[in-house]
């Protein structure tokens, strides 16, 4: 016979989770539901007249080729940012892991950029790459490259990708370094005794052993590229030229706060919300299984 221990019902557990529930409802559920409701409306900026239109705002987006272009652009942007920042961080961490002298100094310097606010990071790149005043266009000119990201969409995209990736390297570096340092020395030493060189040790031991960190960072970087890069894009290109750096989150801002088209903007943010939910679920359910812990 199965024995069960019964506790008398008590309000205490409900009371203890109540603050968290309250915060979730006030700061997440309620605004999200407001966005969903707003996305069904066509309304003037001041909210004086509004019309309930069901899915018309979504229909407009569905018919808009530009919106699909923005979708693809966001995916290209996110993949580039994630690969670039994670790749660079991995290389830097692999080297920092082997540094014997002055390790703290290197580490501190590499972590620094993370403390820079996105808009400021953007402003730095704006100055460095200003086609007329910047130092980089001047140097590029010497090797025959004409840099003008005000006109050249590809260059503008490269610039925001580099700026966004640079900002995230520090964060990725920190996690990669911690992961590498938690690998038991005996494993690496055994490999070394068996004759594996540094490259081999990295490829066959270190990289597989830190794969949970890589997976974690993949999620974090994807979310970062989707949302947190807004400040950089706003400071560097404002989505231009000719929309070539307008990603989904920037379009939400532009249509909603510049264009004052609240319904259309809300519809976009609802789509974005579902996209992120799907992405996270897929990543945790399917990608995580392939990761060796």
């Amino acid at each position: 016979m199965l024995k069960r221990v019964h506790f008398p019902a008590s309000a205490l557990p409900y009371l203890l989770v109540a603050p968290q529930i309250l915060i979730t409802v006030i700061f997440f559920i309620w605004p999200a539901s407001q966005a969903v409701y707003q996305s069904f409306l066509i309304e003037d900026a001041f909210g004086l007249s509004s019309e309930f239109v069901w899915f018309e705002n979504y229909q407009v987006l569905w018919d808009d080729d530009q919106y699909f272009d923005t979708f693809w652009r966001t995916i290209v942007f996110s993949v580039c940012v994630a690969v670039l920042s994670m790749g660079a961080a991995l290389i830097l961490a692999a080297f920092a892991d082997r540094v014997v002298r002055g390790a703290t100094a290197y580490r501190t310097l590499l972590i620094w950029p993370y403390a820079v606010a996105p808009v400021l990071a953007g402003a730095l790149w704006v100055f460095m790459f200003n086609p007329t005043l910047g130092i980089f266009p001047y140097m590029l000119d010497m090797v025959g490259i004409d840099w003008n990201h005000y006109l050249n969409g590809t260059q503008a995209m490269m610039l925001v990708i580099i700026a966004a990736a640079w900002k995230q390297i520090a964060y990725n570096f920190l996690f990669y370094l911690a992961a590498m340092q938690s690998i038991p020395r005996s494993v690496i030493e055994a490999a070394a005794i068996d004759g594996a060189g540094p490259m081999r040790r990295f490829k066959d031991f270190i990289f597989p052993l830190i794969s949970p960190t890589t997976f974690f960072l993949l999620v974090i970087n994807a979310v970062y590229a989707f949302f947190d890069t807004f400040g950089i894009i706003h400071a560097v290109t404002q989505g231009g030229p000719a929309n070539s750096t307008t990603i989904l989150v920037y379009k939400v801002f532009n249509d909603g706060f510049i264009g004052l088209d609240l319904g259309g903007s809300a519809a976009q943010s609802v789509i974005l919300m579902f996209l992120v939910i799907t992405m996270t679920v897929v990543q945790f359910r399917y990608v995580e299984r392939k990761v060796e812990y």
């Binding site: 003037d44 001041f46 909210g47 004086l48 019309e51 005000y150 706060f257 510049i258 004052l260």
Partner: protein, 434 residues
């Protein structure tokens, strides 16, 4: 320590009494003037407050034009809106459509019993902000118009005069480039300068319904042959660097002040920036004329912002606001503002006063903007523009023009697409405003 608790407490107490003793009525003014112009706005408010004791105008900087407008809209929805907000000219249609939110300035002056004469103002300035029936909706504050800035030293070195027509622009550009300059001409705010003002300057319409002044159901028509040919010509100029695109808004200013481009078309309100940044003699002249389109220029249209009164406050507060409006548009304040900033004087009296003070003699060319604006009596094509969602339409125009400058499409394609996308935005605006 200098600040003990009791000093702070007594200071707080004192200020409470002070507040009770004078019972000043506060008038909130949200504006978009940062930096040096923000300090000037503060000075205007402080001077007004010092001139009387009944009312207190409190200016607050709310970010750039779009941010200020968005802030006011959000505040209105939350019923926390200011009495007065500065809105840029392209936001006019949005404000106009918000009938319950705005308090037409002419009506407000009348209700407050404040004397107000519209004919004091320059026609080119106030025509932009009137209803079809002629009622003035908002108070003009900072207005400018695009002019042709030129590097006088570079032009002299190349042995050419400042251009008067677009053919001149080409020959002067060629001479400048031949003389070793990187580029001939560039411009900023391209929708405003190259579409809106090009159209009014040559007296051609940009959209139906008198550029939107006569009401809704407007269709854009700026994909006409005149505009397209002009743009095609400029795109062709970029092949030999006679023209170089340098970004939206004022992003291309360094190209001019660094001596990369010899000519630059943009707002007259860049006077202060150019003066502090350019290491050469510079001048300003009127916008070039396209002789194939018109035999003489009509008049240019303004940009900049006006002050909108928002509805829903006490009548006593509006009285203070009305007094402040009178102070703000007085000749002394306006002449000072104009001479300090490069914005055009909005009243005839301020213009006359600046003349008397000898401002134009000691700063030659600074009256170019006002001459352009008052060149002729505005026609329906040159009175201004009033299109809904125009902030977004300008972005659409920017995007399509950038496609043209990058060589991805022809001027005809660019303008056709801009018109089509713009019309969609107009229809959307009409539905939301119904």
């Amino acid at each position: 320590m200098a600040f003990t608790k009791s000093t702070v407490a007594s200071a707080a107490l004192l200020s409470m009494f002070a507040g009770a003793a004078f019972a000043e009525t506060e008038v909130q003014w949200w504006h978009a003037m940062g930096g040096a112009n923000g300090e000037r706005v503060d000075k205007i408010a402080a001077d007004f407050n010092a001139s009387q004791s009944e009312y207190k105008v409190v200016p607050t900087y709310k970010g750039n034009y779009t941010e200020t407008m968005t802030a006011a809209v959000a505040a209105f929805r939350a019923k926390e809106h200011p009495h007065l907000v500065q809105v840029f000219e392209v936001g006019t249609a949005t404000m106009m459509a918000a009938k319950g939110a705005i308090y037409p300035v002419e009506q407000m002056m009348k209700d407050a019993g404040e004397p107000f004469d519209k004919s004091d103002f320059l026609p080119a300035v106030i025509s932009y902000y009137q209803t079809p029936e002629g009622e003035l909706l908002s108070m003009p504050f900072n207005s400018s118009t695009p002019v042709m800035w030129y590097n006088a030293d570079a032009l002299k070195a190349a042995g050419v005069e400042a251009p008067k027509t677009w053919d001149d622009v080409k020959t002067v550009s060629q001479a400048l480039v031949d003389n070793g300059m990187d580029c001939g001409v560039s411009f900023g705010w391209q929708s405003w300068v190259m579409i809106e003002n090009f159209s009014s300057w040559h007296n051609i319409e940009m959209g139906t319904e008198e550029n939107g002044f006569a009401g809704f159901n407007t269709e854009f028509t700026f994909n006409n042959d005149q505009v397209v040919e002009r743009l095609d010509d400029i795109a062709a100029m970029s092949k030999d660097n006679l023209f170089k695109y340098g970004g939206r808004r004022g992003d291309s200013l360094p190209m001019f002040t660094n001596g990369e481009c010899g000519m630059w078309m943009n707002s007259s309100a860049y006077y202060g920036s150019i003066k502090s940044q350019a290491g050469f003699e510079f001048g300003q002249t009127m916008l070039p004329l396209d002789t194939k389109v018109a035999s003489a220029p009509q008049n240019s249209i303004i940009g900049g912002a006006t002050l909108w009164a928002l509805a829903g406050h006490d009548s006593e507060e509006y009285k203070g606001l009305a007094q402040f409006m009178t102070y703000l548009s007085s000749a002394e304040v306006q002449a000072w503002w104009h001479q300090e900033t490069g914005y055009v004087p909005i009243t005839t009296a301020a213009y006359e006063l600046s003349k008397e003070q000898g401002f134009y003699d000691s700063n030659p060319g600074t009256d170019t903007a006002i001459k352009q604006l008052s060149l002729n009596v505005p026609t329906p094509n040159s009175r201004g523009i009033r299109f809904g969602n125009f902030v977004q339409v300008r972005d659409v125009i920017n995007e399509e023009l950038e496609g043209l400058w990058a060589g991805d499409q022809s001027a005809q394609d660019a303008m056709d697409k801009a018109v089509e996308r713009g019309n969609t935005l107009l229809r959307k605006f009409e539905r939301s405003a119904n």
